[in-house]
């Protein structure tokens, strides 16, 4: 059974023909589109390593059938930089040692970007930890991850305000 779908991945529109309805977004990205930044940890929705943004919302790509997401806009870790410049969340993870082995890091970063967009945690570290609980880190870098999310959020809000001020004064 051939199933044609269209996805916009990191801003690029792609026409894809699936030869099997069982393909998850995770396997499509990694095995067929060579976007291996998104990691397969448990493949059962328990670890968060496969977190991506679908239409702006963070989800587990291992529990999402590609065919069911026909038309979706997808952002993966490969699509978050602005040219050569790191995304503020990436920069904050480096500044705060928010990783050790790095395997969970793409999922952590995509989850943090989703969380900051959701705006639910504010500057409360307890809420940040709770809202990031879907991303496991077996190296135990949680302290650095929490600090990175809090700092990235401050930097992103400041950048948004600067941009807004610039627009107002222009």
């Amino acid at each position: 059974m051939n199933l044609p779908i269209t996805l916009t991945i990191n801003g690029v529109r792609r026409e894809i023909v699936l030869d099997d309805p069982r393909v998850t977004l995770l396997d499509l990205l990694r095995e067929r589109l060579d976007l291996t930044g998104t990691k397969k940890g448990c493949d059962r929705g328990q670890c968060g390593a496969c977190t991506i943004l679908v239409d702006g919302r963070r989800i587990n790509s291992c529990l999402a059938l590609a065919v069911s997401h026909d038309g979706a806009e997808i952002t993966t870790i490969e699509g978050v930089t602005q040219g050569d410049e790191l995304h503020p969340v990436q920069a904050a993870f480096i500044a705060h040692d928010g990783f050790q082995c790095g395997f969970c890091t793409p999922g952590q970063i995509m989850s943090a970007i989703g969380l900051i967009e959701e705006g639910q945690a504010g500057d409360d570290p307890e809420r940040v930890r709770e809202c990031m609980s879907g991303n496991l880190c077996r190296c135990g870098a949680y302290q650095g991850i929490t600090e990175a999310v809090l700092e990235a959020q401050i930097n992103m809000n400041a950048a948004n305000m600067t941009a807004a001020n610039r627009r107002r004064s222009a």
Binding site: G45, L63, L115, E130, G134
Partner: protein, 348 residues
């Protein structure tokens, strides 16, 4: 994963027709179903994708004051809807205490109601399970069963229903709207899930092809907004299923409880409402002695199904805690650690 046919119908009627065939299953976000399919626990021969069906993703206030929530509303969208949180705070707290942010962004209201048990023997296809294979027996009976049911179980099945969301919903008299080939019908949520008896594989009252299209909370459910909590004990503070949980909702006037609602999670194959406890609380002063009496009444019929006698005591303590916290008043904002008995939030 076994292969399947994939269909994406354009209307509810087409969906029902496509799902009425033997072996067909509905697919919403798939956060539970795909997991079960990967493990070989569920083996549908056809998936009927309902995610594009029109009109099922709305939250609307009806003329009679009830709230209608479309079956495709995502858990996160409902839990963060400001009006919903204000009017049904225990339901929002229950939603936010379940799964992870990623799963809540995907999971739908209808799917949550129909999620399957997390019994490890149901998940392990090498184990005997009467749900997966009627007549096979139940390996949980002599297995690791400290998290299994203490109410309403049978020798055929001791699994629990895992939903947090359903617990305050049954307390608040939620109604399920169902479409089938013979038209629309309604069922109290409390009547949707079945106790195992001698047919544990028959989990809900839905007939083949029937589709949950909406959930409705009656107007009276808002009367408890000032005193409503969901409290859940789990083996870690976030992203874990309930060991036991309780939803408590009180209508307090002139220093007395006028009306009480109480339901438990993690104790039975369905969200467990206790009208006995509610009756003991109605008209009483909000005090700990009465809460303990209500908790005893709620668990009066409980018996261990294995290594889980502790749950009977724990459930009573959680009932007392949920009632005490509800009486103190609903916090202005859902606690940082939703439903946690260990939350550091003042008043929580």
């Amino acid at each position: 994963m076994m292969n399947f046919d994939y269909v994406r119908p354009a209307s509810v009627a087409d969906a029902i027709a496509a799902a009425s065939e033997k072996g067909a299953a509905y697919l919403a976000s798939g956060t539970n179903l795909l997991d079960l399919m990967k493990g070989g626990v569920s083996r549908p021969s056809r998936l009927v994708d309902v995610t594009r069906l029109p009109g099922l993703d709305r939250i609307e206030r009806l003329a009679d004051g009830s709230l209608r929530i479309g079956a495709l509303v995502r858990n996160a969208d409902l839990a963060h809807d400001a009006e919903f949180v204000r009017n049904y705070p225990a339901v929002a707290e229950a939603l936010l205490s379940g799964a992870s942010a990623q799963l809540r962004n995907a999971a739908t209201v209808g799917g949550n109601l129909l999620q399957r048990t997390r019994c490890a023997y149901f998940y392990d296809i090498g184990s005997a399970c009467n749900k997966r294979w009627p007549g096979a027996g139940c390996d949980a009976l002599d297995g690791e069963n400290r998290l299994h049911a203490v109410l309403g179980w049978s020798e055929g099945c001791i699994a629990t229903h895992p939903s947090d969301f359903c617990v305050p919903l049954v307390a608040l008299d939620a109604v399920v709207e169902i479409e089938g080939k013979d038209g629309r019908r309604e069922l109290p949520l409390e009547a949707l899930h079945r106790l195992p008896g001698d047919a544990p594989a028959h989990e809900t009252e839905l007939e083949r092809g029937e589709l949950i299209v909406a959930l409705r909370l009656p107007a009276a459910a808002q009367n408890f907004a000032a005193h409503a909590r969901y409290i859940k004990v789990r083996e870690r503070t976030s992203y874990a299923f309930a060991v036991v949980s309780a939803a408590a909702a009180l209508r307090i006037e002139d220093g007395a409880i006028r009306e009480a609602r109480l339901a438990l999670g993690g104790v039975a194959a369905k969200p467990w409402r206790s009208r006995e406890a509610e009756q003991l609380l109605a008209g009483a002063a909000p005090d700990a002695a009465r809460y303990r009496e209500a908790a005893r009444a709620a668990l009066a019929g409980a018996k261990p199904s294995g290594d889980n006698a502790f749950k009977i005591e724990l459930a009573q303590r959680i009932v007392v805690r949920a009632l005490s916290l509800a009486a103190q008043g609903t916090p202005a904002r859902v606690a940082a650690l939703p439903a946690s008995p260990f939350s550091s939030l003042p008043g929580a």
